[in-house]
Amino acid sequence: MSNFPELLNFRAIFSVSNATRFIQVAESLGVFALLMIVVIGASIIAPGFFTYTNLTNTLITASITAVTGLGMTFAIAMGGFDLSVGSVQVLTAIVVASLLSVVDPPLAILGALLTGLAVGLLNGVLISKLRLPAFVVTFGMMSIVRGVALLVTQGQSVMITKHIEFGLLNNGKILGLPVPFIIMMIVFVVLSVLLKHTPFGRHACAIGGNRGAAIVSGINIDRVTIAVFGLVGVTAAISGVMLSSQLMIVDATLGTGFELQAITVSVLGGTSLSGGHGNLVGTVFAALLLATIASALNILKVISFYQYLALGMLLIFALAIDTARRAFIARSLLSHA
């Protein structure tokens, strides 16, 4: 074997986990297949769906959800989740819109990202240092941040009038692709590398898979927890900036239910709420699926309230699939040990 170092390298790269990889690919394909069915179905029954403008808009909506969904996938892999992302999205959308009237776009965007990071880190510190459940902390933070957003704006809308070029973050094209999609792909690549190719990502999965073992293995749980929630905060802030650029006028009532979308796309994409692993490809496909369904319902002039029903049903459906899959794995494991 040692005569063939190339062979060894090849195996090292591709045998990362044949079985796991297979299951993950199959899961992503599952969502992908569903996505294709819905896209084809929508093209047939909803005239105007398969147009350049609509597809672009759908892609933009999907990208905004996917960015936060990717961060959420990281948190879920670690065995947590973040309910405050909707509020963080709206607060950072307001921060960037307000700052644009006083500073240049790069600084305004930086301000929004730092705001998201700060809220995320605070979530992480409260969870790890005060030993509080993520559910309680981020649920509370959801209300607090929403309150701050309302207080800052006094309930008024903020319109972006200076630096209109900020809208390019939404309308611009690079190589024919919408900028939001490019942003989402960059976030996807960065998080994929973090999750699969750094000790940080592996430690996050380890904490989600077996917290007790992670403690005994010398993993600094507090530090990883704080970093992961900081990361989720930043992704929510990126989504906030994207939202601001899309609407150019924002108010503190936006982004309700966004946390539910982010969690749904993670779970639908094949990331188990029980923690231990994250499927980022699946998250992206699931975000596309969600945006496609919303777009089709819009075109068919279905009252938007029904979208809540669809979202809730999708989440429950995704969880049911996840439970069935885990039962299947548990059963196949009976064959060993």
Binding site: A19, R202, G212, V216, I219, L334, A337
Partner: protein
């Protein structure tokens, strides 16, 4: 074969020609097995021999690919565990099926609570029945006690009480003594004797040979999914059973220990430490190249000692020195930085990461250097090399480095754990129960590996409830009792009697003390 047909004409359970095919593996191959009323029948075999598959088939969790199951002469097909229970088969596993928040009595009647006419619980009946069953077992715990507060041994007895109250005819016990201390084991065996007298058949799975000879009437040995033999134990010696299990004779355990010169240099000095609630005034030096055994019953502070030295429990008084320097131990990452690594007692609870691969599990505590920016990323080739090295030196049997660890046998998982400790770059290893739930062959390999590590300059503490294990690996043996040091035995004084005597709080007699 050796089946005694005269005294028990009809088996309560008989399996004929049972095979179980998994994708790529034939876990059981044409196995015959009979269980007679009133017998204790031991099932033995190395990990992977098919014991668990057989038990899972008997308890209705798995379907055989082919073969016939008869209970009391009637053919049955179990579609689920519930059907097996209805046929009178109870399975007591290591993972207890009790609800910790409920009381003893509530647990015994869980799911089939007697009620009065309007649907309310019939508390009088519950208490009456529960106390009958418990007193029959000689179990002295309050019925109103929450199960979560009971010791592991008592919890197991509550499970047996539950099985008895449901009038099962067959009880299977999978490694029932793994977490029990000597007194609890003795009590369990008394109860098994009572069960026998009531005509209940007990299928007993254990790796512990000595126990098998103490309690079982017959033994069935499996190897590679096939039945090797079913024999009466009074016709056999321990070595015969081992030879049947391995297919070859075993290297003697005692032969593992070879005196090697231990340096006088202390790797770790423990100076009069107190861990509130667990340990008081414990002092010793662990020398470079030494294996120090650590014995003690549950509650002696044995496990807590290793946890405190690994920074997981607070040391309130006293100091720990490494190479003569006092070190603060406030977290496991601190301890690893100072070169201390601990393997946990419960592999499933604090050891393995079920979602991660074998390689990821092996390298989770590996020391990482960040000299260049590119080293922020994991180098898959480097990791694969490290894995292959460790796989060869510890003989880890996995189909690939990317296999999920949960697919490995207990013994191989334990080897990965040991490898993890070695990859942590620590020279002081605290090994808890290094061979719990591991088959005899692997046990010897792990013991040999521990001795070899000491020889190459590691300082090792082996904390174990398995006294023969301590005898076979230790240069010295620390014995704790009720949170205090009861003795520190030299190699010449190390034997099972001395360790047991000290552990239960007696003084040792004889010339050596």
């Amino acid at each position: 074969m050796g089946i005694d047909q005269k005294s028990h004409p009809e088996p309560i359970l008989s399996l004929t020609g049972i095979s179980k095919q998994f994708p790529g593996v034939r876990a059981l191959d044409n196995v015959d097995f009979t269980l007679l009323p009133g017998e204790v029948h031991a099932l033995m075999g190395e990990n992977g021999a098919g014991k668990s598959t057989l038990i899972n088939i008997i308890s209705g969790l798995l379907h055989p690919t082919s073969g016939k199951i008869c209970v009391a002469g009637e053919e049955v097909v179990f579609a689920s565990a519930i059907q097996a229970q209805k046929a009178g088969i109870s399975t007591i596993t290591q993972e207890f099926n009790l609800v910790p928040q409920l009381t003893v009595a509530e647990n015994i009647f869980l799911g089939r609570e007697p009620t009065v006419r309007i649907g309310l619980l019939n508390w009088r009946k519950i208490k009456h029945h529960a106390s009958d069953v418990l007193s029959e077992l000689g179990l002295n715990v309050p019925l109103g006690q929450r199960v979560g507060y009971l010791s592991v041994g008592d919890r197991q007895l509550v499970e047996i009480a539950k099985a008895l109250s449901m009038e099962f005819r067959i009880i299977t016990m999978d490694e029932p003594t793994a977490a029990l201390n000597a007194a609890e084991v003795a009590r369990l065996f008394e109860i098994i004797e009572k069960l026998k007298r009531r005509g209940i058949a007990v299928l007993y799975v254990s790796h512990r040979l000595r126990e098998i000879f103490r309690i079982a009437d017959r033994v069935t040995v499996l190897r590679d999914g096939k039945r090797v033999s079913t024999r009466r134990l009074d016709e056999l010696a321990e070595d015969d059973v081992v030879t049947m299990m391995l297919g070859r004779a075993l290297k003697k355990e005692a032969a593992i220990y070879q005196e090697i010169p231990v340096s006088e240099k202390a790797a770790l000095s423990v100076k009069n430490i107190t861990v509130p609630g667990f340990l008081a005034n414990v002092s010793f030096d662990l020398r470079v190249g030494e294996v120090m055994g650590c014995a003690g019953l549950v509650g002696s502070g044995r496990y807590e000692l290793t946890r405190a030295l690994f920074g997981l429990l607070r040391i309130s008084v006293g100091e720990v020195e490494i190479n003569g320097q006092p070190v603060p131990l406030t977290s496991s990452s601190d301890a690893i930085r100072y070169g201390i690594y601990m393997l946990p007692e419960e592999r499933k609870i604090e050891g393995i990461f079920p979602d991660l691969t074998v390689r990821e599990n092996l390298l989770i505590s590996a020391k990482r250097l960040f000299r260049r920016l590119s080293e922020l990323l994991i180098n898959a080739n480097e990791e694969e090399k490290q894995y292959q090295g460790m796989r060869n030196s510890l003989d880890i049997r996995a189909s690939s480095s990317g296999q999920k660890i949960i697919k490995l046998s207990g013994g191989n998982q334990q080897k990965v754990m040991l490898g993890r400790a070695l990859m942590s770059n620590s020279r002081i290893l605290l090994l808890n129960e290094p061979t719990r739930g591991v088959d005899v062959g692997t046990r010897v390999e792990i013991h040999a590996a521990i001795r070899k590590l000491a020889q190459s300059g590691y300082a090792i503490i082996v904390s174990s409830s398995d006294i023969p294990e301590l005898v076979s690996v230790s240069d010295r043996c620390l014995v704790l009792s009720a949170g205090r040091m009861k003795g520190l035995l030299d190699r010449a004084q190390i034997n099972e009697d001395n360790i047991t005597a000290l552990a239960i709080g007696q003084e040792i007699t004889g010339d050596s003390q």
